[in-house]
Each structure stands twice: as structure tokens, then as C-alpha cells.
């Protein structure tokens, strides 16, 4: 039973246990998991001395023994042997002998079992170094992967009948069509918020009409496409990783390989194409919904009619503003698809790694989208677009 009194386990030393002298130890009571704490205390208090010779370990008084008790007794025997004693286990019951044999058979603990500890600052510096190397490796592998996918693309270009059109259309539905409600709602609300905040500031200068300029430039150049890319990375980039990762865990990817098919061609290319078709369309839709939200808010707070809004919009932005936003879409699409599929194919063995890599895929996808967006801004300002 669990939780018995401490007195139920005991061990004591008696001098001169054998004819050749030496010492004698007598253990008794219940040497089990419940009494292990008391047993450990009793063992700590035990003093046998450091003389050499024979020590008798009498186990006749044992009422119960389990693995933990056997571990403790064998630990004692090992300690005595290390001190120079020869240990003889005596008066042992057969059922206890079998258990002690099993524990003995398990062998001794290897030296240096624990993890070596360093100074925390050294650990921190090492951690930064390891993370940097890992990030550099990840970048290299991702570029390698892009190369692999490009080669597969080229092969498909030469032999277009191998492209899985059904699969592409299925993914366009998943990535594009199914994202319309959430993306439309969020873009509309962002347009509303921008118009409201802009109107508040511009009213002080009596320049309310310029809300339209603010909306046009910010939504068309940056916000529409960024919102789209971030939502798609969260919705579909993660789905790519989870889908391909689960297939990896189930060995489905291996099965594709053994059938003489190419996992990249079958799994990655249709997703990449679908993403590159869907994302520009979604970005344009987000632009329109954002402007619509802005127009509704302008009408509500500033009494700018839809007609005025459109006229002002035509003077504020040109086609190149729209294009400056939309041209980024295929690039973002490629990045999101590559990261999603690459992380999915990196899944190994456990179901846990699917979760870890899905998180990583979303974070990495959004990070790269924003970094590339910043690079585009630099590029556009240099080109004077």
C-alpha cells in the first residue's frame, strides 16, 4: 500500500558478521517505492567503516521489495565494493533474488550522465551563434529548394501535360475563393479605420478631401497587398506545411517516391502555381474592398459622395500606383508557397514536428513578406516609381 510509516523500512550495521571478521548488515521491512525516501535516509545514516574484508548483507528480514528498493540496495553494495569490501548477499528469498538479479543485470550507470553545464553567458553567446548558423543554413536550404522547384517547373514547361490541373484548381479554390469572405471583411474594416483616422487629422487643415489621396496611395501601394499576403501566409502557408507534414508522417511522401513520381511535381508545383494565380487576384480584391470601406466612411463622416470619391481618386493615383502594389503579389506568393512547402517536407517522424514547423512556416512566411516589402520600397524609391 502507498503511504506507509517510515519505520517499516530499516537497515542496521552489526560488527563481526562472518568468521573472518568484517562487518554485517541487516536490512528488513518494506523496501518499496512508498518507503524509498525513508530508506534513502536510513542508507545515508549507515556507517560501515573503510576496512577491507567481507561484509555480509542479510536480506532475510525483507517483507517486500520492488525495483526502487533493489536499486537502493544495489547502490549500497556498489558503494561498499568501491570502499574495498567484498559484499555477500545472504538469506535472500527466491522471489527477491530474481528481482535483484534483474536490477543487477541492468548494469551500472555510465559516468558523465548529466549534461555538462557552462557559464550562462557562454551558453548565451553559444546560443546566439548556433541560432545564426541555423538561420544561415535555413536560408541556404530554402534557396536550394527554390532551385529544385524551378527545375521541376522547367521540366513541366517542356512537358505541360504532366501538370496536375485538377490539383491546381483545387488549391486555387482553397487559397483564393475560400479566403474571399475573411479577406474582404478585414480589408473593408482597414479602409474604414484609415478613412476615419485620416479624416480626423485632415479636418484640422480643412483638407478633408485629401482623405481620398491618403486612402488611395496607402491601400493600393502597401496595405492591400500586405494584408493579403499576411492573411494568406496564416491561412494557406500553414495549411501547406500541415498537409505536406502529415503526409510525411504517414509516409505518403515516401510512397509517392516509390511509385516513380516526384513529390515536388505532385505536391509543391500545383500549390505554388495556385498561390501565384490566387494571390494577385486576392490582392486586387483587397484593394477594392479597402477603398470601398474608405469610401463608405468618407461618406458617413465627411459627406464625400461616391462620385466625388472616384473623381478625386482618379486625380490622386494612377495606374502605376496600382501596379506598384500588385507587382509584389507574385513574389510574395512564391515566398509563401516555398516556405510552406519546404517546412512541410522538413517534417520528420513525430506528429509534434508538424506543429512546430507549421508555426515556423507562418512566422517565417510573414517575416520574409515584410522584409521583401521593405526591399521593394527601397527599389521603388530608387527607380522613382
Amino acid at each position: 500500500m502507498r503511504g506507509v510509516a517510515a519505520e517499516q523500512v530499516w537497515i542496521e550495521a552489526r560488527p563481526g558478521g562472518t568468521p573472518e571478521g568484517g562487518a554485517s548488515l541487516e536490512a528488513g521491512g518494506r523496501w518499496t517505492l512508498d518507503t524509498a525516501a525513508a530508506a534513502a535516509v536510513a542508507l545515508d545514516g549507515l556507517r560501515v567503516g573503510t576496512a577491507t574484508g567481507m561484509v555480509r548483507l542479510g536480506l532475510g528480514g525483507l517483507q517486500a521489495l520492488d525495483t526502487v528498493g533493489a536499486c537502493l540496495l544495489m547502490g549500497l553494495a556498489d558503494r561498499l565494493t568501491a570502499d574495498g569490501w567484498r559484499v555477500a548477499v545472504q538469506e535472500i528469498r527466491p522471489e527477491h533474488a530474481a528481482l535483484i538479479e534483474a536490477v543487477r543485470g541492468a548494469g551500472r550507470a555510465p559516468a558523465g550522465h548529466g549534461r555538462s553545464s557552462h557559464h550562462p553567458i557562454i551558453d548565451m553567446v553559444a546560443g546566439v551563434g548556433e541560432a545564426s548558423v541555423a538561420a544561415a543554413r535555413e536560408a541556404r536550404d530554402l534557396i536550394n529548394f527554390l532551385g529544385l522547384v524551378t527545375l521541376t517547373f522547367a521540366r513541366l514547361w517542356a512537358n505541360p501535360s504532366r501538370l496536375r490541373l485538377t490539383s491546381v484548381l483545387h488549391h486555387i479554390e482553397q487559397i483564393g475563393f475560400n479566403a474571399l469572405p475573411i479577406l474582404g471583411l478585414l480589408s473593408f474594416l482597414i479602409g474604414v479605420v484609415l478613412a476615419f483616422q485620416g479624416a480626423d487629422q485632415l479636418r484640422r487643415f480643412g483638407a478633408e478631401l485629401y482623405v481620398v489621396n491618403l486612402l488611395g496611395v496607402s491601400v493600393l501601394r502597401e496595405i492591400g497587398i500586405l494584408m493579403t499576403a499576411i492573411i494568406v501566409a496564416g491561412r494557406s502557408g500553414s495549411a501547406f506545411t500541415a498537409q505536406i507534414g502529415t503526409m510525411k508522417v504517414n509516409q505518403e511522401v515516401d510512397a509517392i517516391g516509390t511509385m516513380g513520381l516526384d513529390p515536388i511535381e505532385l505536391l509543391v508545383v500545383p500549390r505554388a502555381i495556385a498561390m501565384m494565380v490566387s494571390l494577385p487576384l486576392l490582392a486586387f480584391y483587397a484593394d477594392i474592398m479597402g477603398l470601398f470601406g474608405g469610401a463608405v466612411m468618407s461618406y458617413a463622416t465627411l459627406n464625400i459622395t461616391f462620385g466625388q470619391f472616384i473623381t478625386q481618386l482618379q486625380t490622386a493615383v494612377g495606374l502605376n500606383t496600382v501596379m506598384a502594389g500588385l507587382i509584389k503579389a507574385p513574389v510574395f506568393a512564391l515566398v509563401i508557397a516555398m516556405v510552406g512547402c519546404y517546412e512541410g517536407l522538413k517534417v520528420s517522424g513525430s506528429a509534434e514536428s508538424v506543429g512546430t514547423l507549421t508555426t515556423k512556416s507562418v512566422v517565417e512566411g510573414i517575416f520574409l513578406v515584410i522584409v521583401i516589402d521593405a526591399l521593394f520600397s527601397v527599389l521603388f524609391s530608387m527607380l522613382g516609381v
Binding site: 502507498r2 524509498a36 521489495l65 522471489e95 534483474a102 548494469g107 513525430s350
Partner: protein, 265 residues
């Protein structure tokens, strides 16, 4: 417990698992209808039955993972339905379960998997816990370096052994095994059978084993429980061989059954 019981002959001990009038239903389908079962202390009981006869369901009900429609299940003398939370936990520390696919926690190493119940249920020093985990890993027949590995790095046979080591972590009185040799090669399966038998003898375990492995049934099981006609028939192998029930006859007299018996003789 083990000490006082060990000197008594097997047949005099009270049953550690007692099932009475168990009824299990899934919608209109009745799986068990008035099932009775006694598992004696210190025996190895093999449970067999066709697909859909409710072997795994019976295991889950005994473990308290599922509630039966009717009937009474006593585990180590306690009615599992009326146990308080803490009493249930106390009974659960005296049972160990090896799930079919190991069910090792994938976020922990093998050693951490084994140490978890020891950390949660005992107040042993960390050094002793680590030592006990090491001994269990070795007793389960795993190499010493297996402790630091994560479950994903292990082969199928090693996952079973690691699962067994975790099931044995708290030195349970009853060990439940769900298809322990499924998915192992014949040599690995035979080695696993031997391992279970030697652990059962040295630790004085009662083993409740759901299995389809006829070799395990003939070599290590003391008695065999056959789930037929929504009830269970428990008998020694010889008695099952003489049973005229068509399913039992086909099971033990089919080509595989004959081969397993020849091999064990």
C-alpha cells in the same frame, strides 16, 4: 503486497480484476452483454477475439477510460465506478499500461517519459529517479543510450520496449498490454514475449494482455480469455482446444494455431 502474496499459491489469491455483468453498447449495437471475468493475481491472461468483439473496449473500461452501460468492475478490490478522484489516482499508480503504439510523449526523451510518473507520484530524489529510470530502460532491454533519445528516433520494437519501461515505472501490480507484439518481426516478438515473462516473474506482476499473437498465447499465457457471443470464456489452452464453439475451434485449430502449438511443444 508482493512480499506477502508471493508465498501463497496462485489459486488462493483474490482476483485483482473482477468484472461482473458488464454491458457495453454503441448505439443499437451491443458489444458485451453480461460479461464476467476474474483475473487472478500473478497470472498472465491473454485476451483474444475477432475484430469488433470489444477487446480494446474491455481494456478501456477496466482502465476507466470508458464507462460501460451496466455492470461492475473491480480493480485491486476497488469498484472503479465509485472511486473518489484521489483513490482512483492511487489505484492507477498500481497499474501500468503499454498502449498499442507505445503512446510515448513525443516532446520528451525516453528517460523523461519514464521519469514522469515517478516525478509526479513519488518524492524520490532526482538522482534516485534518474537511477530507477536507467534500470527500467535496461530491464526493458534497451541500450543505455536510448534514454536520451526522443521517441521519434526509435524503431518500432524499441518504442514498445520504451513503452513497457514507462508502464513499469511505478512498479505496478497489474500490467496491461494492448497488442504488445503487433508490428514486431517474429524474432523481436519472441524476444518481447521472453522479456514480459521474465519481468512478470521477477516483479511478480499480473499481466492482462490483449493479443492476436498465437505464439504469445501458447508460450507465456497461463490462461486465455476468448471473447465470443458478447461474453468471455476463460480457460487454459488445453481446454480451449477441446471447446466445440465454432469460432474457438477455428481459432485454435486453424493452420496458424496448429503451427504455434507445434512450435511451443
Amino acid at each position: 503486497m508482493a512480499g506477502s502474496n508471493a508465498i501463497q499459491p496462485v489459486f488462493e489469491r483474490p482476483p485483482v480484476i473482477r468484472v461482473r455483468g458488464l454491458v457495453t453498447r454503441f448505439g443499437p449495437q451491443t458489444v458485451h452483454d453480461g460479461l464476467d471475468l476474474d483475473v487472478r493475481a500473478g497470472e498472465v491472461l491473454g485476451v483474444v477475439g475477432g475484430s469488433g468483439t470489444g477487446k480494446s473496449v474491455l481494456l478501456k473500461e477496466i482502465l476507466g477510460l470508458m464507462t460501460p452501460a451496466a455492470g461492475r468492475i473491480e480493480l485491486l478490490g476497488h469498484d472503479t465506478a465509485s472511486l473518489s478522484r484521489s483513490a482512483r489516482a492511487a489505484v492507477q499508480t498500481r497499474t501500468g499500461v503499454l498502449f498499442q503504439n507505445g503512446a510515448l510523449f513525443s516532446s520528451m526523451t525516453v528517460a523523461e517519459n519514464i521519469m514522469l510518473p515517478l516525478r509526479e507520484h513519488t518524492r524520490l530524489s532526482p538522482a534516485l529517479i534518474a537511477e530507477v529510470a536507467r534500470v527500467k530502460i535496461a530491464m526493458a532491454g534497451l541500450p543505455p543510450d536510448a534514454g536520451a533519445k526522443s521517441p521519434a528516433q526509435l524503431s518500432g520494437g524499441m518504442v514498445k520496449r520504451a513503452g513497457l519501461a514507462r508502464a513499469l515505472a511505478l512498479d505496478p501490480d497489474i500490467l496491461f498490454l494492448d497488442e504488445p507484439t503487433a508490428g514486431l518481426d517474429p524474432i523481436g516478438a519472441a524476444a518481447f514475449d521472453t522479456l514480459i515473462q521474465s519481468l512478470q516473474r521477477s516483479l511478480g506482476l499480473t499481466v492482462f494482455m490483449v493479443t492476436h499473437d498465437l505464439d504469445s498465447l501458447t508460450t507465456i499465457c497461463d490462461r486465455i480469455a476468448v471473447l465470443v457471443d458478447k461474453r468471455i470464456r476463460v480457460a487454459r489452452l488445453e481446454d480451449h482446444l477441446a471447446d466445440p464453439h465454432p469460432w474457438i475451434h477455428d481459432y485454435f485449430h486453424g493452420p496458424r494455431g496448429r503451427a504455434a502449438r507445434r512450435a511451443s511443444e
